[in-house]
Symmetry: C2
Subunit: 472 residues, 2 copies
Amino acid sequence: MIDTGLAEELSRIVGARFVRTERAELATFASDGLPTYRRTPAIVVLPGTAHEVCAVLALLERRGVPFVARGAGTGLSGGALAEAPAVLVTLTRLARILQVDPANRRAVVEPGVVNATLSRATAPFGLMYAPDPSSQTACTIGGNVAENAGGPHCLKYGVTANHVLALEVVLPSGVPVRLGSGSGEPWGPDLVGAFVGSEGMFGIATEITVRLVPLPPEVRTMLADYTSLRLAGDAVSQIIAAGVVPAALEMMDHNAIQMVESSVYAAGYPADAAAVLLVELDGRAAAVEDDARLVGSILGGSGARSVRVARSAAERDKLWQGRKKAFGAMGRVSADLVVQDAVVPRSALPDVLEEIASIGERYRLRVTNVFHAGDGNLHPNLSFDAADPDQVERVHAASGEIIRACVGAGGTITGEHGVGLDKLAYMPLVFGPDDLGLMAAVRRVFDPDGRANPGKVIPTAQCREWRPWSAS
Amino acid sequence: MIDTGLAEELSRIVGARFVRTERAELATFASDGLPTYRRTPAIVVLPGTAHEVCAVLALLERRGVPFVARGAGTGLSGGALAEAPAVLVTLTRLARILQVDPANRRAVVEPGVVNATLSRATAPFGLMYAPDPSSQTACTIGGNVAENAGGPHCLKYGVTANHVLALEVVLPSGVPVRLGSGSGEPWGPDLVGAFVGSEGMFGIATEITVRLVPLPPEVRTMLADYTSLRLAGDAVSQIIAAGVVPAALEMMDHNAIQMVESSVYAAGYPADAAAVLLVELDGRAAAVEDDARLVGSILGGSGARSVRVARSAAERDKLWQGRKKAFGAMGRVSADLVVQDAVVPRSALPDVLEEIASIGERYRLRVTNVFHAGDGNLHPNLSFDAADPDQVERVHAASGEIIRACVGAGGTITGEHGVGLDKLAYMPLVFGPDDLGLMAAVRRVFDPDGRANPGKVIPTAQCREWRPWSAS
């Protein structure tokens, strides 16, 4: 089924060893971080330069072949999956840090640079790249741009969109364009805001100018544990209401604590707690000291059973290990795991968490909650076995009910994982036919033939045909 | 020349007293905050509801009439000027605050709400709307959205784009659409990022959901004065490099100080100084105290002649008065004033300021610098008499050289005032024909006939015709 002519032409651009057509090789690219979908691309191509990206996309354009861009494939919405005849364009070879400009606190990177690598490179200058998805040791900045990735520290520092200043983009036609100006805040008709979060539908970013922020001189990490989820949720609201902006404010429920504590990632969380809160404060020493006093007194008065403060970097890393490796720990108790993603207003957290628990019971699924409580970004995780069609069916149904519950509480269908394949069907819960039609029309500007990440994000069946010139 | 039939139809929608056709009335809408342009609209219409905005735009669509949206008309790039046959749609009657949600720190407002009014309404809840353009007592949130407005406190808090969560927009066709989801950070293909800063080309926002932030419990304002601009510029870099994030970090040069001090807005600045720095710190008391110690010692070591700290709210207001009323003070010394706007990398500030001074000398123009030094956003102001064509010519030529100098130093053509009419010719300095063609193509999705704010922002002559399906 492989178009050997196309593979040969691609080889002429990038070299034969960077074109993959063997079934076994293709299979390694057939899934991302979400195990409910598998799609096998026709060909995988790995360009090594921006120039090669242009040439590859121009070739695919001439041949009318669809394509999907992919970074490290850690995404959680099925967004980086390609199905034949689509070609998967993997960008991990474009992994150079092109510039670090400490005086103006900017860096210019290629899309395949791993998130954590950039902060390691800028640490000697006292700077960091703030967005820190939990997959940051693997995921790429290019993928972060596609998904407008968040992370625990985005509560204080903002998501990817707040940290991207300018982009060099190769359009699906192969034409390179420059979005944004790289100087200062976005202004005028710059299209950076539209591109960040466009999930691979608008083209491939080959050069990304990001903002860097100072490494905080002081970091304080606290753990509070509770006998009820509601008490923990109320503590979150009180901390925010007190005017403190923690660097991170994370919650894990009883199931999550148990899975972590019975795994190799055991972090010393009280195993019988209904919930733990992980609060991190950062900044200059006096400010952190003062915030820590206030947060400590709020936690103490909020019904926490105990409040611990990490006394060393090693203790802090251990507290975070439980949070960052929670998904890995869950992998031990079931064959597969869906990390769901939705947002609710902070004030609705306790009620929605109860509703999610009852949905889990109704569908006989183990639900585990590990999430960014400070900004209401939930991650209800469903453990299951993908080999059992009945379980897969129940996971899909329960996911749908969870998303509907979040939307019903005034929230929305994704917080940081994107729409991809997984949330496609939920888009009409938050957008009407005209809203979706407008999105599709903007997509067509970048990609008139719908060849860039086809079948994702925008549910075309629900779009009103876009005729802005005829008022309804 | 007035299309009385159109005026009558508009009257049927909004009521006769909200349709203006008299020459004297139209003249009051013929300029904005930038005195170098005058444009007289065919008709001014003032809708009172979002429903009326829909009906007005649908009517203009049927008649093929172009239009320009306008808030308070305080803009500084000629962006809200309409020239007959265009109709000016003034939104000052849509001035309701529809919702304040303190628990989730959001507000929903109509576009005509005055910027400062929103923060006054949310102050009882301990919250504020952070973006604070110097015109904030007059300018509207709708206008702020169109221009992606900044302000002194955007150094710490971010510009308008960072504070808009969702939008109800009436497209140029009269069709209403919803952009963004209002919950949490932007995600997926939301078009809020593209709309904010689109300068009236994409339609009219009738409902704006904004983020609110806590009022800082403590504010500390400091003034340092210098005998050289370069010393002041170096102090700015040192403060930023020390990892402090001031709420504001403003600079005024000798000419600005003199104009302020000889006006009714005298703020007690040392009249002989080459430059003053205004540094504001805010947050919780201990953090502010600590930051103030550090900033005080940096300023002391940076060659400042004196460092003053405001001891009361009244003293603080007085220090700010000099900055916020500087443009008014300049109005005393010449008939007219162009407030220019450009960005340079912070490290290039001292060199660029010297170059601007020499451009001023060459064109025999008094240049005054009052600007957001912390983020390198310059405002070189040119005093002149608009009645003298030779002076007008010199202002245009000097502006062009200033902008080129900023771009040459790695900066860009506008920081917060937008492109509008004034920067149209400079767009090709930072964007190529394909970049501009893409902008024009996105514009056409929202406005296929080019009737929304025609002739602004995108220099159509320089756009490559947009055929993304043919690789170049």
